[in-house]
Amino acid sequence: MVDQPLWEQIGSSFVQHYYQMFDSDRSQLGSIYIDASCLTWEGQQFQGKRAIVEKLTGLPFTKIAHSITAQDHQPTPDCCILSMVVGQLKADDDPIMGFHQSFILKNINDAWVCTNDMFRLAIHNFG
């Protein structure tokens, strides 16, 4: 078996970890952000671990499940990892919707944290 590049391994285990936490207990997501982290959620900006976790835990659904369709990871020149995820989600009893999410991961004190996070539903214009 060919070894995956390191950034692929780190990126995909981050993605797995992130959505597993998101789907089971969003309040724990604080562990992956730092005070300099930025989240752009459907165009709305949030900065800092606290503001981000507040936003994510405040989303009005009790159950959510993500299913990842595809993910890509790249090393950046400053030793970070850029990740892009395309997938589908189901919140409570609503119909399934597509989404895109991108992350930048940075190694700080031997731990990988998320410094940037951007989320959009894959909803397109009509009319």
Binding site: W41, D94, M97, L121, I123, H124, N125, F126, G127
Partner: protein, 222 residues
């Protein structure tokens, strides 16, 4: 790429310019019962069309208003409001709007103000109403006053999608108002004032108040 949607007949919004086509949108927080209201009103003709790429559910209905047959598209969200994204085309060319909240959840009532502001950004004049859903859970709520409708000058209905109270009355009045707005958009303010005058009377008459010569037809839509 937006233009591509034009090739999907359901989403070609030019059709709403035609005389016999009306578009009515539903607004309100998730889980207030918007889809349940549709289901209750349409009953047997309940055949929603899920357009998942657009996070949209369409319900088609035919009604007779005066002596005219009107095709109505009810637009319902498919849950994107949980993520706070409503695309402007949701509002585009709408002729009326039904704003729903859940009497059991205060926050859904408070959020009406946000929904109303957004609606008026896109559609400053279309007829609108406020619907207090789930009154079956606790009939005492109908004694309480919810002033949002009055403050904005729009009709208010206590309904229950679960047992059907006031549902048909609310939808039929909104259909009539949508058609009237479409035929005569400039008379809109007069229309509102008149609605308001009638409003208190209707309240006392109860759910079965007469229904202005409106009857539904069994639709053949597919």
């Amino acid at each position: 790429m937006a233009g591509d949607a034009g090739s999907i007949p359901e989403l070609d919004q030019k059709k709403y310019d035609a005389g016999e086509q009306v578009k009515i949108i539903c607004l309100g927080d998730s889980a207030v019962g918007k889809s349940k209201l549709m289901e209750r009103f349409l009953m047997d003709e309940y055949r929603p069309q899920q357009l998942s790429t657009y996070a949209l559910t369409l319900y088609k209905h035919t009604a007779t208003v005066g002596n005219k047959t009107v095709a109505i598209d009810f637009w319902d969200t498919a849950g994107q409001e949980r993520f706070q994204s409503m695309h402007p085309s949701y509002y585009h060319k709408a002729h009326a709007c039904i704003m729903v909240f859940d009497v059991q959840r205060k926050i859904t009532y408070k959020n009406l103000a946000n929904w109303y502001t957004e609606l008026r950004e896109f559609r400053p004049e279309i007829p609108c109403c406020v619907v207090a859903n789930k009154i079956d859970a606790d009939l005492k709520v109908t004694q309480r006053s919810f002033n949002f409708g009055k403050k904005q000058g729009i009709p208010f209905y206590f309904v229950s999608a679960a047992d059907g109270t006031n549902v048909v009355k609310m939808f039929r009045e909104m259909i009539t108002r949508a058609v009237e707005y479409k035929q005569n958009p400039s008379d809109f303010m007069d229309e509102v004032l008149q609605e308001l005058e009638n409003f208190d009377l209707e309240e006392k008459e109860g759910p079965e108040a007469d229904e202005v010569g409106l009857k539904t037809e069994s639709p053949e839509l597919e």
